[in-house]
Amino acid sequence: MSDTFKLVVDGKEVEVPREYTLLQACEEAGAEIPRFCFHERLSVAGNCRMCLVQWEGAPKPIASCAQTVGDMRMNPDGSPPNINTKGEYVENARNGVMEFLLINHPLDCPICDQGGECDLQDQAVAYGRSDSRYEMNKRAVEDKNMGPLVKTIMTRCIQCTRCVRFVAEVAGVEEIGMISRGEDAEITTYLEQSLTSELSGNVIDLCPVGALTSKPYAFNARPWELRKTESIDVMDAIGSSIRVDAKGAAVMRIMPRVNEEVNEEWLSDKSRFVWDGLGRQRLDTPYVRENGKLRPADWSEALSVVAEKLKGDASRIAAFAGDLACVEGMKAAKDLMIAVGATALDCRLSGQKLGITPSGDALPRESYILNPTLMGVEEADALLIIGANPRVEAAVWNARIRKAWLWNDLKVGLIGEPHDLTYDYTHVASSTSGLNDLGAFGDVLKNAKKPMIVVGEQAVVGDSGYATLKAAHELALECGAIVSGDDAWAGFGVLHNAASRVGALDVGFLPGEGAKSASEHLSSNCADLDTVILLGVDEVPMSQFGDSFVVYLGSHGDAGASRADVILPTAAYTEKNATYVNTEGRVQMTTAAVQPKGAAKEEWAIFRALSDLVGKTLPYNSADQLRDALREDVPSFAGMNFAPGNAGAEALSAPLPAATESLSDDPVFCPIGDFYLTNPIARASATMAECSLQKQTLEVSAAAE
């Protein structure tokens, strides 16, 4: 039997794989099929009946989403089956379906948040009747609580069960279901408990009607009023593709964009709902600390104070980059520090041993990016996660791991504290010393065709960090995870948890010759430093900066700003065109959707201005010139929006420099205590605070049981 099947759709012959559904085949032929319940990334339910088409010779219209092409038969004369997706027969069938769907659907489009982007609305215009023949009372359904993110108006629900299938299949948390039956059927969570998935916001996009809408966005704007800007998310190191919808000076919402290689079409709740944090706690003017108190100052005053400090002893000046810093800012900061002669740069504040060995030797780029790529997990047949909890560190990727586990029979092993990852895994060990003896999972890796070894940032923290990285790489070499040549497979990589990290490592925001690392400075309370420049550093204990003079560049008034001696306000990620490199080494750029708040400026411009004041003018006058310089320095920035992936196999084939320390016996904990509050923007968001509170309450009540 051939692998393909021929069909005639609306008179046009197409040949499609046998496993295609009729709906896919029709789309292949260029026909548009309306649907509510069918979704490419979910299992087929076949309950809305909107996708009816005519199969000539069949006694009834066919639900095209549920008909596998390979199961169809030829016409009696042996010619391929004829399908009609247009014409009176099909129109009538869909008109009937639409009439039934609308029987119990309220006519509240004017007050519905889905209005303007509603599948039901659009399709009612296309296929519906002009009036209703239904004279009975419509049914009404109680609204359900689904937590702080998802607002429900259940009377609008048409029971397509997309949300039920999403949380069960993609999010992996079976929390939504359909209860009762017949006309009493309702979608609900169990006893109206809140959703606990970190991907729950996606049900809002999936809902074809206005039953599940965004609670924080409720009644904020109409879709046609919004300016839509395509951008990149910085809440984690995945760099999901997003669309920032803004009205006036405010970001009104953030939606995912389809990007098969990165986030498919999902978005984590933090990335989606963090936008209200962009309007709160903002630093909109420079501040200078005077007599122990911060007071607003103008730019020239603030910059001159900082410039004075930069003219001091260069060996006692340091610059540290935080989790949200953009490449441009770090490049300018580094150039300025080099210009004044300072070498104490670092982006690895918790002491990750990445980018350079403990003795200061440079490591190849491949040693700190996720070479197998996010998408690569779908090719892999065994995955060992070392010291990471992808569910909170890279929520969207976790859904992809689950997908591979569910459909491709991916075997997963974990070293580190066990977590509920939404899929089954072998817990190999809690500490990285488990790498010495993987037990049964070692055989799984060895027998795998495409094994994948992923090191979390937390695993390479501390004295034994480099040893862990080295051991993991050795394991990759041993179990055949690195294959160069035609069938290249680079099955070794690092999963980062901050958007800035790979960019910082690429720029070389690392200690120079003989300079101490950030963690060494911090553990000695910066005793060797007079001045510390922080590019949005908020995640370390502020007492560790000791008595040094702290210059804080950031967008939000958070821990760093309250410790700072000078605050230089900067633009947030929705307010600038800035480069970020995701954990795969994919160079991507954000696009400014709104203007920076108040007097806030982009980081690179601040350093450019400072360089003038210290008399070491940096050689660029615009962001474009800076990027040109960057491309010259670091070739990896030349390409945009692609991940090197298996091209890294070559470089990975060589062993890493030897490690002096041995593996640690201490358990590896997840570095992210609270998924919803990992950065200053999220901490400024009321929605995230509510989610966090919700989660704590659930955890407390679970612990009490």
Partner: protein
């Protein structure tokens, strides 16, 4: 059907299966592979409902979910789908009143009124906590309508009076036997049976003993002896077949051993074979068929009077001869023959 929700308050916080239920749980779980044990969700919910006084509380549902390692929402879906799982408390006796057409035609509406008057609203437990009721769809006992199911048993052929009495008795702690409430056996016609009433039909005596070999050619009508499609052959041979048959009859008579005559067995008196058509129609005696007639004839018995004159010894002898132990007496040949002889005379 109304929107169904758990009564969280009445359900409390805990639920435990009764210890004797554990065996039943194991029975159901054993039916499915370990990784498919969620298949046992309906039986387990049912057992939980039994152990929880006839309704399913939220903790009971959670217990089932935990035993089957299912997410709560999945069990919740099942529990709310099937109306046989009651999510609200019920009385000690829960009345499920069938209101579907056959029962309705037989007065279910009257029973419903009794429920409303004596118990209260549907799904509400009455004050004493002993009774509650609901209307359900067909319970499959249409031939016995109107009917109700109380807890596990059917109460059938109810009228307003009988049903009211049942309700009163249950309310006052008097047990009521389930079953029919009119004089009838299960779904049999009302009143006493009028067919198949001879107890001898059921004591095993009828099929005992064989008078002749089965499929013996002489006992079957001629046409049955002929192979299909052999009609012409039959016509041709008809004479010879008749001749052969006569010879066979004679052979049986000659070979049949006549029983010995003793004190209590006596060969009945016989007469000469009369001309054809002058004999009595012995088949008029119930129990005597064509085969027996032939036998009796061969013995020299042709008239009702002869049989009517039989006494005990003759009966015994005939019994022996015909190998029909007790049949002459059981089928009352002699009184029948006497009656028929009387009739013939008049």
């Amino acid at each position: 059907m109304a929107v169904r929700r758990f009564d969280l308050e009445a359900g409390g916080d805990t639920f435990e299966f009764a210890s004797e239920t554990e065996g039943k749980i194991s029975f159901w779980l054993a039916k499915y592979p370990e990784d498919r044990k969620r298949s046992a969700v309906i039986p387990l919910l049912w057992l939980a409902q039994k152990d929880n006084g006839g309704w399913l509380s939220e903790p009971a549902m959670r217990e089932v979910a935990e035993r089957l390692e299912m997410p709560y929402i999945r069990v919740y879906e099942v529990a709310t789908f099937y109306t046989m799982f009651r999510l609200q408390p019920v009385g000690k006796f829960h009345v499920q009143l069938c209101g579907t057409t056959p029962c309705m035609l037989r007065g279910a509406n009257d029973l419903k009124e009794i429920c409303q008057n004596k118990i209260g609203k549907a799904f509400q437990v009455n004050e004493s906590g002993r009774l509650s009721w609901e209307e359900v769809e067909c319970l499959g006992a249409c031939v016995n309508g109107a009917m109700v199911q109380i807890n596990d048993y059917y109460y059938e052929d109810l009228t307003s009076d009988t049903f009211a009495e049942i309700i009163d008795k249950l309310e006052n702690g008097v047990e009521v036997e389930p079953g029919n409430f009119v004089a009838r056996q299960r779904s049999a016609p009302e009143g006493d049976a009028i067919t198949l009433i001879d107890s001898a039909l059921f004591d095993g005596s009828v099929p005992a003993g064989i008078s002749a070999l089965p499929n013996a050619p002489s006992e079957l009508p001629e046409s049955d002896l002929q192979p299909l499609g052999a009609k012409t052959a039959k016509v041709k041979k008809a004479k010879t077949v008749k001749a052969e048959k006569k010879a066979a009859d004679a052979a049986i008579e000659a070979t049949a051993e006549l029983p010995e005559e003793t004190d209590d067995k006596k060969r009945p008196e016989v007469v000469e074979a009369p001309a054809k058509g002058e004999t009595d129609n012995l088949e008029a005696i119930k129990g005597v068929g064509p085969v027996l007639v032939k036998k009796l004839n061969s013995l020299g018995v042709f008239y009702f009077e002869q049989i009517a004159a039989w006494g005990e010894p003759e009966m015994a002898w005939i019994d022996e001869y015909l190998s029909f132990k007790g049949r002459v007496a059981r089928e009352r040949w002699i009184p029948q023959a006497q009656e028929l002889a009387e009739k013939k005379k008049s």
